[in-house]
Symmetry: D3
């Protein structure tokens, strides 16, 4: 059905080493990450033909970002080399009661400064069967909101499947702005992905009884969220991640898939968190893989949740796991016994 194209911003990710506070020592771990890039890497790791589109400056940092994607076999040939800077974010891993923190320095990045005319979607969509973006991309600039709209219209013309992870970021826009923009894009989306808060923050649809900070989830309430989302926007599938955070080291993790008819809940994993950033993206990657390969709904949500469970054990935004490893966990081997 053609390759998968994801579109968004990839940034230089700078993390303090060894669980230290930011700049407690003079070492930073430098990798790259970004919602849609993370999804592309997941899909390439599962053997899919995945391409990634963004804008990157023509300097050594832009090139290193591209190389980091090529490493996993992601097709980077569509990337535009323009603009002045790559966005940056600083990550400090939390521990126990101390939360992880992410500090962004992404303004005026190459992709945020791009214009709709920079993108020729009919050409970019050649051989593309699936298009994925997140709510971060239209939040970066008015131009990018328009560019997303252009992309969706082109995708619609070409019958390309579209998935969107709502991914609300409060430091990028208000819930009002998010709702205005996103509700205009949703009608072109087939698969809507959200976490416990997104549907409320982005589209104003709320799970009753949810208490995200408190660590307790009203799993059943999410059924009605999904139903309402489908009623409002006509999604074919709604995938929701369900995280309850005990502390920075311990999270419970599960997911729900609604196929327009029924809600399927996955197994819940008690996760010892190694690196939580990118966890939602690895769910998207798993869900897109499973839906594209026509898994049954229960299998699909189990695959997406097992994939993203494993991501929490891996440093960096990218989910460095194989299909075999996800399958092995899905089939129930979660005891972590040594594999020789």
């Amino acid at each position: 059905m053609g390759k998968i194209l994801t579109f968004g911003e990839i940034m230089l990710r700078l993390m303090s080493e060894d669980g230290h506070r930011l700049l407690q020592t003079n070492k930073l771990e430098a990798t790259f990450g970004g919602g849609e890039a993370n999804v592309a890497v997941s899909l390439a790791n599962y053997g899919e033909d995945a391409a990634y589109l963004t804008c990157l400056p023509n300097n050594i940092l832009g090139q290193a970002a591209i190389n980091s994607l090529r490493y996993f076999g992601v097709d980077t040939s569509l990337i535009l080399r323009q603009g002045e800077r790559i966005g940056t974010y600083f990550v400090e891993k939390g521990h126990s009661q101390r939360p992880s923190t992410v500090l962004y320095d992404r303004k005026n990045s190459a992709v945020a400064m791009s214009k709709p005319d920079d993108f020729d979607w009919d050409k970019l969509f050649e051989d593309v069967g699936w298009f994925h973006f997140t709510g971060i991309t239209p939040a970066l600039s008015t131009n990018l909101a328009q560019t997303c709209k252009d992309a969706l219209l082109a995708a619609s013309r070409k019958n390309i499947m579209v998935s969107c992870d709502l991914n609300y970021r409060k430091n990028l826009w208000s819930t009002e702005d998010a709702k205005t923009t996103m509700s205009g894009l949703m009608p072109y989306v087939h698969v809507c992905i959200a976490n416990e808060e997104d549907a409320d923050k982005v589209l104003g649809i709320k799970a009753e009884g949810a208490d995200v900070e408190g660590g307790n989830l009203n799993y059943e309430g999410y059924k009605s969220v999904a139903e309402e989302l489908v009623r409002a926007y006509g999604f074919e599938h709604v995938g929701i991640t369900l995280r309850s955070s005990i502390d920075a080291n311990n999270n419970n993790w599960a997911g729900m898939l609604y196929d327009g008819t029924k809600s399927y809940f996955s197994r819940t994993y008690e996760i010892r968190v190694f690196d939580r950033v990118g966890g939602g993206d690895s769910f998207s990657g798993g869900l897109i893989y499973a839906l594209k390969n026509q898994y049954e709904p229960q299998e699909a949500i189990e695959f997406a949740v097992a994939a993203s469970c494993l991501k929490h054990s891996i440093e960096g935004d990218f989910n460095r796991v194989t299909l075999q490893e996800v399958n092995s966990l899905m089939k129930g081997n979660a005891t972590g016994r040594v594999q020789r």
Copy 2:
């Protein structure tokens, strides 16, 4: 009410990297720490005007110790540059059933070799409103015991508030010597701070039913300890930390504040320990801050315990947290969710 002065020994702290056994690899993490210095750093981090007094040799190690304090804004201008060596201690982080170990090489340090005449307390106490020391300082030498006495007499003359963390160290002196010396200093102390064992070891006042090694604490028994301490020495406040150690990675942590009338217990935190050394000092730092800023007793103990809870998630003796972070935890956000 003037600045806060803390007085004691700061040492070079050498820790094996990455949780390894000492000298398992050829790398040591070199930082600085010491009970009263740790308190000064906490207070400077909360925005207080904090100064630290000690003796340090006039070499690169002494200078580095000073620099490490100036980094946090601690006033180091009172420090005496004299003596031949800085004390050293080696830390090996425990894991699971293997305990953390601390090996001291602190004999003959600059401060331990100092003489009472080296300190002109009337001058040192200019602009000082609060004086803090721990039971470690008088334990280092007979001279230092006398110096502490001199300091307390001067503080008394100047109506300076005095806090003392009993901090018994069995490799520095016997319980008999501790009791003799410390009971002579206590009458000048307004705020007495202790852990589960100190009151017994230093002053012979014991919580009945306590079983420190076994991980079970008779919280109620500490009320009577506090009451007895106040009866014996006339303290205005008694703060006690309550740790139950499940294993080297998991501790439960709480505190109690007795204000002469009533005992206030804090919330209990289930802590995943990152670095436990300096935990008690961060409690002192929090409690001094709260009392100096006239928090209500319940708020004060919650602040001190939240502050020290966070310290357990941070490497090194110093509690690298802001007022905002302590307040955020105090207000109940203990789930460690990512802050973006």
Copy 3:
């Protein structure tokens, strides 16, 4: 009763740093390890006169392997410097639901290519009172299976105590081959050591009701395994490790010793795993020490399990603990409180 000689393969162990996936970064931690070498190191650490026998190439890697053993005081003077390469294995530490993995590159190693005639057992056994090997050694080559047989016959002639850890490795041989070879060696063995799976895989003796992957152990079923082993091969003692794996970070760990008459179960430790590889060998090392020093059965199994409990908190194959540390844990101090 003479020194302890262990015989087998020591390999270069290459582990990804900081819990990363293999080659996620460009750093590998290089140490050495191997079942019998690990046992020799344990015994030397307890003060025993321990020697280790293997073949190592006459290059810098072979020399470094020897040095790594001499570091602990293991006698390496019997080691044959011959052959072309040292075996290598790559370790990736698991986390949460992601298992640890071990990838071997050990074919054609110096010891695997050795011939029975390379070993003059009557000479090698001078001053030896105890001989230890594992099921890995005869699995490495037909020649080594014969060499083991030669060794056992010589040991028998010289009344040397023999212990064997069955240690089944499915990538070295089939259960059929293992059974054929091992059942021919067992009659010369006095102390048989096994984990939950070995007796079944190597000798076809199975604990009913065991569910190794599921994390639940039928402890009682192991009694009959031990009894049957003794019936079949006349062992004086059978030691069995009992691991239930909750996830890669959390294991429950205990052991059983059968002395031909009765089964003694140890206390169970809830372990936060730091490095699991070498855990079984540290049990063997502890058990051999205890039996050689004629501990009572309950004490012996407690010592072996406490020793191996501590190993799980230490990086690398070698169990870097002293007799004092094992004794301290055995006596019940498992709370991990700081030792100053």
Copy 4:
């Protein structure tokens, strides 16, 4: 004569570790640096009362920049906490024929976005006896050029000594813009500092016969440059650094001081370069120290060159040397023999 105030931009400096190409590995060395901050650190290290003024965002990176200055005892109390980001630059150390490279990402930094009204120079200049800035500061924005003008006028009113390092940066402005702006500031400057190229690029005054890239310097030609600078702007002193670059590891380094009457050349050092970035600033720091302390001209230029010679042996922008170390080198001990 009062403290020394320097004013400019401090940035987060990110350098690839171990001489690797940028992002060749995933580790970056994170420190802070910037022309005027580097000068303040030098002066504080020599025991001067040095303060630094800039704008920094109210986040963890801004705080860490401040802490890095406090570490050396620089007074940071004047720094404005405003703006959104701290500028960043990436450093890759050169080797042999491969040059070092510096990639800036400094646009829209807190100080570049500041407005002239943010600075109350009469207040800022309390207790100030010397003011230092570089040509980088006015190049950052039109506002900052005005702010510099305001500062110089205030300094003039208060009879504050002013030094300026021309420091031309071609990626910040054209030589035309530089000349327009800088020639308006120069009349208020007492000490002008430049490298081999600056006088030409910034003020259009050129040393004949210079061949900077070729590694040969026409030392004598710099006399006429200095004379012409003094004629044009009335400087009291002109200090010029003279670098000839053999390759990235080997530089010859000297300096010249013109006091309006005569030119004094320093000894030339054959330097093995450890880290070249910040070399010019360490010359400024040394020269300001020497002139402020009324060294004779020959001594002054020897001090400045010895100080900056040592900087080339130290990693990071800051010159971590003491007065004693500079004096020792000045007095001729350049053989690098071990000091015990």
Copy 5:
């Protein structure tokens, strides 16, 4: 003219960190390298369409080797996933009079165990315009010698340009075996590349007056070597690297190109060596680039030597430089001045 395909063995390269002796510490730097892979990376970095062919086991190490090539944009789609192991080599960087050492553990690698039938050259050569291999490949096994012959015959049929770096390795074969095999392959080669020793060791053609160990090169003698090589095998071009080694840190480096008519000598670089391994391959990469893009002979040899000069400043086998960087050095900027 179609893409460039290189064929050979890529290995896991394990180097002691920080210039230490092998296993002096427990850290190894793990990268990948191999003569022909190194050439492919150089060419991809210059913007050429480069593919690499080898066999790699279907495990995490084989995958990581592929990823390390994809990182640079090398086409790895032709690589055969078969065999049991990837070859390994250990590198210890020399210093001063202590030479660098390379210890190989490459026997029985996937590519060494491959069979001629594994390779369908007519298919592999689709779209290929240039084929490159080195003398290492046929030295690895008799099968590979045959496979190389097959490749050359196919290349000949398809009019593909062929280059070969003689690259004699004394631990792989004798000079007699090398001569027998290589002289049978040379008639199909258009561009022959050699260092100071290869022509003699591999083909028995010697530069008179050469004294490789002594550090003095009879540059003129290499002209006759090239002439004789062309006479014997009909090469279109002969490229020879000319290294004189002062010590492990200092090498002089130049090259010569003979185009059948005339010998062109490059400029000589005095190199401070950062990592010497892969230096010859970077010369091949540069020469192939220059010849493929029809540089004039003098320009071609200057390009190849400048490219390989830069390689000596970069860690790892791969030459991480851009076309712009090579051109900049070629044009004479060898002083290593900071590029801002």
Copy 6:
């Protein structure tokens, strides 16, 4: 002729990483070293039966020091486990004009606090054929000066060869004290080893025309020093190291051996210094090896100088080289070409 015993102090050596200034970062490289221990390691590396005697505290640091010696096969069984602390020293590597510095914290170490009665020399000297110490040992305490005298008397009784490296340390004693003590020990010494300054500082015998700081050595003047030493104390051999220091990275290095009849000068090496500390000890190790194995004088001095030349390329006090490597350099291979 029996084993070689060396006697002195081994210390914990803490060096800033990566050529940084001490405590510039938070990492220290922890190894062990000390004059006589370094000699023992050299000798063990050459295959000699070498033992080392000192006192070490019964803690983890003392044990690690022992382990670090066992690693090389040094016999540590004579070491006394007593005393409270191990001496420590901090090393900062110099660069260019910045000298290396060594900061000692060795007072009150276990060996410095030892008493003459702690050593039973008749027993310690069993099987000993050669005894080596340095001028550091008697300088550590009056007790140790007596202990050295006791040792020499016992050695004399047993006809044990004695070598002594004068090794003057100005921070341990005055030249007057050194002369008084050392001149009483010299009559029992057979092989006297010194650097350019020692004979003057310790025994008052000076090479005329020497200018140690200036980098120029009057090689011929050392002949008369050696002759005078022999006249005064009757040494059989005098070995003198000749270092001229260009800068911290570049030293010229040679040696002279006087056999009572004639002076033999070695080749001079132009050394790029990696780590200079321990250089003199590696000369002693080489010279003792050569004399014990009855090398001809010219060969002996060449061996000692080649051995110590190589030491300068190796991090840490210990000379990690084999006999083969020293021989290879002696035979003239000093070009540092890659050894494959």
